[in-house]
């Protein structure tokens, strides 16, 4: 085993302290009973209680989740199709434009994406609300999905697909029975990425939402502009908790399946 030098230990410790301390502070102060966020006045869970009675926050949370589920599902379907076209599509008219449109949204400042979509929706007379946010989120997150999925498709052994086709399956069957199970982890992580991006988005949602639909980030942003509030700390704590549980579970599951795959490979070797 390698010994780590004091320099590396120090830089890792300081680095991770920098990454995590602000969030730890946020979580601790969500249990502060004082309304003044910076003065500690004893342990209390009252801000959580108030949060769950705040109709406006609950409504916004519900809208956000609906938008995230629908848009990330659409984005996954469209993004997987786009990845397939990019990696397996061969030559077709306007291929350069297509790949440009896939990569451009990744580097586009959110203010520009938001502004341009809003101007489109107004131009075609579409009322702003849940639908327009879903359209906007689907568009930018499908590009992230297609990047994730196409990186998996590139490293994929094409002869497996060809074998299925030779053995008499239709292209759709070959995709469903051979390709999809193999690229599934990438498709799932693409969906999760799209879901988080949608959940998290403030700027594009602010441009494309109307008075009838407010998402949680918009609500949080207008609240924190006025300063720090313990209710927002409580809300943040809940969101951090959900993400942490999700990410840790996902990494444990993938670790487990990697171990299983290794075992299978070893068993196969022995069988030879």
């Amino acid at each position: 085993m390698k010994r780590m030098s004091w320099f590396n230990v120090t830089s890792l410790t300081l680095g991770f302290a920098f990454l995590y301390l602000p969030m730890v502070v946020l979580v601790i102060y969500s249990f502060n009973s004082s309304k003044l966020v910076t003065v500690w006045a004893g342990f209390s869970t009252k801000w959580y209680g108030e949060l769950f009675q705040n109709e406006a926050f609950l409504d916004a949370a519900w809208v956000t989740i609906k938008v995230a589920v629908v848009s990330s599902t659409f984005a996954t379907v469209l993004g997987t199709m786009a990845a397939y076209v990019l990696v397996r599509g061969g030559r077709f008219m306007g291929r350069t434009l297509f790949s440009g449109m896939i990569y451009a949204p990744l580097v586009m400042p959110e203010v520009i994406t938001g502004l341009s979509l809003l101007l489109l929706f107004i131009g075609i007379g579409l009322d702003r609300g849940v639908l327009t946010i879903v359209l906007a989120h689907t568009t930018f997150s499908m590009c992230y999905v297609s990047v994730v999925v196409s990186s998996r498709l590139v490293s994929f052994d094409r002869s497996l697909e060809e074998a299925a086709l030779d053995l008499g399956s239709t292209p759709w069957e070959a995709f469903r029975l051979v390709t999809l199970p193999i690229i599934a982890p990438a498709v799932i992580s693409g969906w999760l990425l799209a879901f988080t991006l949608s959940l998290d988005d403030l700027v594009i949602a602010s441009f494309t939402s109307g008075p009838s639909a407010t998402t949680l980030p918009i609500k949080i942003f207008s609240a924190v502009r006025l300063g720090v509030s313990p209710e927002i700390n409580a809300l943040s704590t809940i969101m951090i908790l959900i993400v942490t549980v999700g990410v840790v579970t996902a990494s444990l599951v993938s670790k487990q399946s990697a171990i299983r795959a290794q075992k299978d490979a070893r068993a196969a070797e022995r069988a030879d």
């Binding site: 590396n8 680095g15 306007g94 203010v111 341009s116 441009f207 951090i240 993400v243």
Partner: protein, 291 residues
């Protein structure tokens, strides 16, 4: 037939919801503001003839005349550049430490770097508001240690914006550098030391040049989004912090001047093209080198 449909669906989606909006922004940036709904003229209803006759570069001329916009572009560039350098200085030692860590820790360290990325951006920026304010935790600590006699004003200054950008974009810097350092053959470093380099020299002459690709990739991944950043300057910065993303937002939502907001967007995009093209070239070179 199936293939055509497979190509057409995502293609049309992006044409309608990505390319078309873009052309609309370009068109409106050439229009005049008007007291109407929508608040610009000419509209598409006026016909092609009117569109061609009435479009002009007035808004762009206006942007060059009012020095607010110049200053905002320049200061966005400066802020993005300085924060990128700071992120590199903070991120490199962390990536280096990760690459030198024992194998069984690596997966955990990797997860710890990625975890904040999944946590809401808005919340991570907000977390600093409570720390940096005048009565905030940092000032309480400094006062208690006796390092200052009165609270430092950090929140609502450009310093706070630097801290915010470094904090939120740190994972984007760490991951590509870590990937480059991880591939590095440790024996090269040993060879340099055997041949008489000090550890410092070996680091500067061997490790840094060999991790150049990671440094460049990470720097672009921080610089490009930082240039158009809106959330960080509006929550942590004050009225003295000019950033173009914030100017665009205010032009649109507060002044309701759509043509000027569109012109600001067009110029921001033109400025971004250079770093984006450089970034793509770097990525391509890297891919070719790997093959």
């Amino acid at each position: 037939m199936r293939r055509t449909a497979l190509i057409a669906v995502p293609y049309l989606w992006l044409m309608v919801l990505f390319l078309a909006p873009f052309l609309i922004v370009l068109k409106i940036s050439l229009s005049d503001a008007a007291l109407a709904i929508p608040p610009y003229t000419p509209t598409f209803k006026d016909g092609i003839g009117a569109l061609i006759r009435e479009l002009d570069f007035e808004n762009f001329v206006f942007l060059t005349e009012d020095d607010l916009y110049w200053k905002a572009y320049l200061s966005s560039f400066r802020i993005a550049f300085i924060s990128t350098v700071l992120t590199l200085l903070v991120g490199y030692p962390i990536a280096y430490g990760m690459a030198k860590a024992p194998d069984e820790w690596r997966a955990t360290l990797m997860m710890l770097v990625i975890l904040p990325f999944w946590t809401s951006f808005l919340i991570r920026v907000y977390a600093w508001m409570g720390i940096l304010s005048n009565e905030g935790l940092l000032n309480q600590l400094l006062l208690w240690l006796g390092l200052t006699s009165e609270p430092l004003v950090i929140l609502n200054t450009t310093t706070a914006v630097y801290i915010g950008i470094v904090y939120t974009y740190l994972p984007f810097m760490i991951l590509p550098i870590y990937a480059a350092l991880d591939r590095l053959d440790a024996s090269l470093d040993e060879a340099a030391q055997d041949l008489g380099c000090t550890r410092m020299q070996a680091f500067w002459l061997v490790t840094i040049p060999l991790s150049k690709n990671g440094i460049v990739a990470g720097s672009f991944l921080v610089f490009i989004p930082a240039l158009g950043e809106f959330v960080i300057p509006s929550l942590l910065g004050g009225s003295g912090t000019l950033m173009i993303g914030k100017v665009l937002w205010e032009e649109f939502f507060n002044n309701r001047d759509w043509p000027v907001a569109s012109a600001v967007a067009v110029i921001l995009l033109l400025l971004l093209i250079i770093p984006i093209v450089l970034f793509q070239r770097n990525q391509q070179k890297q891919q070719e080198a790997e093959q």
